[in-house]
Symmetry: C2
Subunit: 214 residues, 2 copies
């Protein structure tokens, strides 16, 4: 985690992403305002939680009228930093990496994959969805003083740390890691780990509790 | 969310998945015991948080000695339900779906993809990594009274709800959803949403706060 002073907790930020999507949907459904109660119900949260989360950002809601949908959506986009585009590099154009290049949610939220890296000679130099794949040997050179702000790691566990060291040396401060390994980075670099199996573990936990221990 | 009585919060379950991975790593490093302080440091949590999380499962730690690594790892596996295998069906063999079929973390944690569904005539009937792809028209028939316990949805937003209705009718109680849409399911069905852009939004939030609003 970065050493920056964070008044907003990790789970609040996660819920802001959820509210953002709900408000987008509400706008499509022509809602002009939404109460904390309705928003909570849609997202299976408590109205108190919604009010608490949104209270961080000043007084939005009008008692009896609720929150203005578009204004709140735009405010959350600003807080999350998705009212602009971010330049992203992706390291590892394998199964997961290839899927991420085509992942529409990234584009929709303003995350533009602009550089690709791989170690496979058959991929290096080839055009992948309009981007020429670079050699992972050149990560440091290509990222230093570049316009890339966020790096996604989608390589096997064994090579992830070495590549991340290059990424960190190049000055990148934000990394999304798909390798199932705890990456070591300096305190001023933020790493988020994406492990799709963890969500399945939540489901298996629920199934065990719902059905009784099996 | 399921209507089951959950004494353990969502974020605790998530941390259990993290502890499980840390303990696996510690076992590889030949640790026999680990203190809450060391475990907390590795995962960038507080020792108090670690002790609180693990206290749910009875008294494990011995003051001065710490937690027994293997025993605690096994206990957490049991709680998460990953001390056994789970049969999984995957709907949508596109970019994301294909990557998930090859995703090693699923297999490692005991989640076995045993059925695949797609609506593409070129894919239906073909052998994908040893599994014959079925027609999505047959979801209800193929899942009813089958050994499938968890379903993963990796189809575009527009078709996700219709397919989920078939999944729910077939009696499935646990769904992992990659479509960026809020699926409507009965209270006794658990849906977890996986949206990879949300982790990037956490990073963009951090970058904004670290660098000042840009």
């Amino acid at each position: 985690m970065a050493s920056t002073d964070r008044r907003i907790s990790e789970s609040t930020i996660h819920r802001l992403s959820i509210y953002y999507r709900a408000l987008n949907q509400l706008e499509k459904e022509n809602y002009e305002t939404i109460s904390s109660k309705e928003l909570a119900k849609r997202e299976k949260l408590t109205p108190a939680q919604v009010r608490k989360d949104l209270s961080f950002f000043g007084s939005f809601g009008t008692r009896g009228l609720g929150y203005p949908v578009t204004e709140l959506r735009n405010k959350i986009a600003e807080i999350l930093g998705i009212n602009r585009t971010w330049n992203v590099a992706l390291i590892g154009v394998g199964n997961i990496g290839s899927a991420l290049v085509s992942y529409k949610e990234f584009q929709k939220q303003g995350f533009k994959i602009k550089k690709l890296f791989d170690n496979d000679q058959r991929k290096i130099g080839s055009n992948h969805k309009g981007i020429i794949v670079s050699d992972i040997k050149n990560i440091f050179e290509e990222l230093t003083n570049s316009d890339i702000e966020i790096v996604i790691i989608a390589v096997p566990t064994a090579t992830a740390q070495i590549l991340v060291d290059d990424v960190v040396r190049s000055g990148i401060k934000a990394i999304l890691n798909f390798a199932p390994v705890n990456l070591k980075v300096p305190d001023d670099v933020d790493v988020r780990n994406e492990n799709m199996a963890m969500e399945l573990e939540y489901l298996s936990f629920s199934l065990c509790y719902a059905k009784g221990r099996s």
